[in-house]
């Protein structure tokens, strides 16, 4: 998710957005889109739809020949060559602003037929007015009359469950991967339209920007054996970056930690409760990365073939070690006290306020916080440290998925509605350097942004209105583009490339797997247990207990089920 999150959402992910520190929901809150859970939110909500080999099956996944029949053709489209080419799974970096006159049109004329369209999507923070100038300009340019139903992203899963159970489903529904818990995957199959007849194979060529979406993102969009989702492609490199206050680190001469012990020692040195300074926020997600724990952003990603046996992340010693280490941080009192409550707003605010000097969140925060503080605190400087291996050296990181948020179209929609929705998607998936991308990311010149020294700078109105929403309907291949802060764009891309170099793909990478419904609740309690353990309310041995219960209650059967899936479909791992 990161690149999109970065390129499009970062501007939105101002600290004012809601969010309770480190809860998974809160985290998303502050990260904008997505990637979510990657480093460790619970696997709680993640099974995705997919329909066996061959369609019609309610669980399983679709790969290989069966998928090939469904996947849209790929037609690359680059308007501007990236200044930093993608490498090691990173996004493409664009550091130069393209003057308005040189922007290309990737879509000819207004593609929409002018129909009305309701779109429901998660939103973090106070949403803009329903018919604000940004939405109007987008509607006008695309040729639709879209009405946005922005819902609180923090409790989107509940809203989604209720809306999908009702008879009032909006025309387009955005579903993040981390909200695919419980029965939602079956709802996706039951309630959303098959887009195959519009996009499979060469049909996608009618939508050039959708045709340029990488195939692995489309692969993730096959639910229940059917191409249902419009994906938001993402870099597979972990999106969770440990940020530190570079200005304060430099002033005090603190060195970045090279292993887990150094991290703890440094945290103790930084903390001065008396002065209201604590070293860090809840670092659980970074701990997972430092210790090389399999990804928790998706249930299937948490399984990996080790010496011929499938192992789940919760069974690995690394998982327990990461929890134990994070617990030490809480124990040592180096974590800001409000992090413990998880209902006291955003960690990012404490970071910019200088009350907490290290925190982890979506990579997009790098740009968001930097640009937000530019006008408020001239000396503010932040950076992401390279994730240290727990024992020193490089960490072993696991890939997240190449797409983890989709827009779906309601089943039974008329052809006109589907085509209008696809027109929106084709518009919002326009690549960098196009008029469509510029309007989607920066709004209207003079209203939402001004151009200073050739660089687009968002106005207050722009920050308020031009956020979230449209890019959820579809996005181009992963990119990071912040022409106003080229050095941050470069640093973000290069961080991804360095982390990408030590990233491996687990056995089910890139597949959308729907677990049989009898097992979808198996992992429901683990996220809570993780929180309880690191906060000292439960013991690490309670986790061992929970894992052995998980095995007998279905975990071992689930392992066999995944094993069969792997034998049938092969692995995408590398």
């Amino acid at each position: 998710m990161t690149p999109n999150a970065v390129s499009t959402d970062s501007r939105r992910s101002t600290p004012s957005r809601s969010g309770s520190g480190q809860s998974r929901r809160g985290f998303l809150a502050s990260t904008a889109v997505a990637a979510a859970v990657a480093a460790g939110g619970a696997p709680l909500l993640t099974a995705c739809g997919g329909g066996g080999s061959g369609s019609g099956k309610k669980d399983g996944t679709t790969t290989g020949k069966d998928a090939a029949k469904l996947l849209p053709a790929f037609v690359a489209s680059t308007v501007v060559a990236p200044d930093i080419a993608p490498k090691n799974g990173s996004a493409a970096g664009f550091t130069r602003a393209i003057p308005g006159a040189e922007l290309k049109a990737s879509v000819t004329g207004r593609r929409g037929k002018g129909g009305a369209l309701t779109i429901m999507a998660p939103f973090w923070g106070p949403p803009p007015a329903p018919d604000n100038p940004y939405y109007k300009a987008m509607n006008e340019a695309i040729g639709v009359r879209a009405t946005w139903q922005n819902q609180d992203g923090n409790v989107y899963d509940q809203k989604l469950g209720a809306v999908l159970a009702s008879s009032e489903i909006p025309d387009v529904v955005v579903v993040p991967g981390w909200n695919l818990g419980g029965r939602i995957p079956s709802a996706v199959d039951a309630k959303f339209e098959d887009l195959g007849p519009y996009l499979s194979g060469d049909k996608v060529k009618a939508y050039p920007n959708l045709a340029a979406i990488p195939t692995d993102a489309w692969q993730r969009s096959i639910f229940g054996g059917t191409l249902r989702g419009l994906p938001m492609p993402a870099s597979y490199v972990t999106n969770i970056a440990p940020f530190y206050r570079k200005d304060l680190f430099d002033a005090k001469g603190w060195q970045l930690p090279k292993n887990a012990d150094e991290f703890l020692a440094l945290a103790k040195e930084i903390t001065s409760a008396k002065a209201k300074v604590w070293a860090c926020g809840d670092m659980t997600w970074t701990a997972y990365n430092m210790f090389g724990v399999l990804s928790g952003s998706d249930k299937a990603l948490g399984w990996n073939l080790v010496d011929g046996k499938l192992v789940n992340r919760i069974e690995t010693p690394e998982y327990l070690e990461a929890l134990e280490w994070t617990r030490k941080l809480f124990d040592a009192g180096v974590v800001h006290p409000d992090e413990k409550t998880q209902n006291q707003g955003d960690t990012g605010n404490r970071f910019t306020a200088g009350q907490c000097l290290i925190y982890n969140n979506d990579l997009s925060h790098w740009y968001a916080k930097t640009s937000e503080q530019a006008a408020r605190n001239a000396s503010f400087a932040m950076a992401a440290m390279d994730i240290p291996g727990h024992a020193g050296g490089l960490p072993k990181l696991w890939a997240t998925n190449p797409a983890n948020i989709w827009a779906f179209i309601r089943k039974g929609s008329s052809k006109a509605v589907i085509e209008d929705a696809l027109a929106v998607a084709d518009f919002t998936a326009a690549p960098y350097g196009t008029k469509e991308r510029m309007l989607t990311d920066y709004g209207v010149e003079g209203v939402h942004h001004t151009v200073k020294n050739g660089l687009p700078v968002k106005t207050d109105k722009g920050n308020q209105e031009v956020s979230s929403s449209w890019m959820f309907v579809a996005s181009p291949a992963p990119y990071i583009a912040h022409p106003d802060t080229p050095e941050v764009t470069r640093a973000m891309t290069e961080w991804q490339q360095r982390m990408g170099a030590v990233t491996s793909k687990s056995s089910f990478y890139g597949m959308t797997v729907t677990e049989p419904s009898r097992w979808t609740g198996l992992m429901n309690d683990f996220e809570q247990l993780e929180k309880d353990i690191v906060r000292g309310r439960k013991k690490v041995s309670d986790m061992q207990q929970a894992v052995s219960e998980w095995k007998t209650k279905g975990g071992d059967e689930l392992r066999d089920w995944y094993r069969k899936l792997l034998d049938t479909n092969g692995s995408a791992a590398s």
């Binding site: 469950g161 999908l164 006290p337």
Partner: protein, 343 residues
């Protein structure tokens, strides 16, 4: 509710004698009703009053009675996504008899939530319930109207704060980085964090509740106090009763029916100890301390779309609540009080 009905009916039927039209003697314990007036006439006579109840009635029917029908999913393995809408999905979902109830009753998580709920209920009963009574007596003793108005305003105000705000205020004062902890640290002492300590949590929740709602609870007691005949105080004073004796023999007996009524209602509500307040703080202390029945139902129902299971848990709660309110009412009768209603 019938107490209210009879109250409104009584003045309207002043001629009602001890004899019913059929000539049978009325049960003296039974409050008089307008039963002897023909139905049609009563309808015409009370139409204004009946009309006034319509909006409330509609609300009750739409939001309380119609949803009761939804409880059938407790006996199903309900999948709301089986069909185009929730109702037809209900028709298509398989029946599982009492299977969901078996699941609920054998789930340690459920019993844990029950335990937390009861602990909080008892604590609130002992610590919270008497507070509005004491406050009412206090406010009642303030004679200056202006002072009294100010005191009342200050007492009522927190009721209008949202839980988010209340919890944040508590966090800012009692939290690990709160005013008190920071002040202590600046003076060389250890800080503390009351907001994330599971052991303190039940008291914290009660304290928050008292701060927010005790003042609001005063209103009904003040109304009861206003109804006390002032002559009684005068007479008692004439007989040489001091302040305490007047309170004991005049004021408190006057409040007794109201106290009994509210107590019965509270007991019936024993399994409801605050939803939003606890949900907001669930992460701060963990479900071990903060999971109560309502958050349990929310968690299993909405978070995992296990609607049938949540409905079953909710139904169990409803049935237990009914039994509680009936027995509390009975107890009130045995103690000579009116309770909520008499049959």
């Amino acid at each position: 509710m019938s107490t209210l009905d009879t109250k409104t009916a009584e003045p309207a039927a002043p001629a009602a004698t001890a004899r019913t039209p059929r000539g049978r003697r009325r049960d003296p314990r039974r409050p008089r009703t307008a039963g002897h007036v023909p139905f049609g006439r009563r309808l015409r006579r009370d139409r204004a009053l009946l009309l006034m109840t319509v909006p409330a009635l509609v609300l009750v029917v739409v939001f309380n009675y119609v949803p009761i029908l939804g409880n059938v999913v407790a006996f199903q393995d309900y999948d709301p996504y089986l069909s185009t809408n929730g109702v037809t999905a209900m028709l298509e979902s398989p029946w599982v008899g009492l299977g969901q109830f078996e699941r609920v009753l054998s789930d340690p998580g459920f019993w844990h939530a029950v335990e937390n709920t009861l602990v909080l209920f008892l604590l609130q009963l002992v610590l919270f319930f008497p507070v509005p009574i004491a406050l009412a007596l206090l406010v009642n003793s303030v004679l200056r109207p202006r002072v009294r108005a100010v005191v009342q305003a200050i007492l009522y105000l927190p009721h209008f704060f949202s839980w988010v705000l209340v919890i944040t205020v508590f966090q800012q004062i009692l939290g690990g980085a709160g005013i008190i902890a920071q002040t202590l640290r600046q003076h060389g002492h250890e800080g503390f964090d009351l907001m994330t300590d599971p052991a303190v949590f039940p008291f914290l929740v009660t304290a928050e509740g008292i701060w927010k709602d005790a003042g609001w609870g005063v209103i009904v007691f003040l109304a009861a106090l206003a109804a006390v005949n002032q002559d009684l105080y005068e007479a008692a004073a004439m007989d040489g009763a001091g302040r305490w004796r007047r309170m004991w023999h005049v004021t408190l007996p006057a409040l007794r029916p109201v106290i009994a009524l509210l107590l019965v209602l509270r007991v019936g509500d024993a399994l409801t100890v605050g939803f939003e307040q606890l949900l907001l703080q669930r992460d701060a202390v963990g479900p071990g301390a903060a999971e109560v029945l309502d958050t349990f139902v929310w968690w299993t129902g909405l978070r995992s779309q296990d609607f049938s299971y949540a409905a079953a848990a909710g139904l169990v709660k409803g049935v237990v609540g009914l039994v509680l309110v009936l027995s509390a009412n009975k107890t009130a009768h045995l103690m000579g009080e009116q309770g909520v209603y008499r049959t």
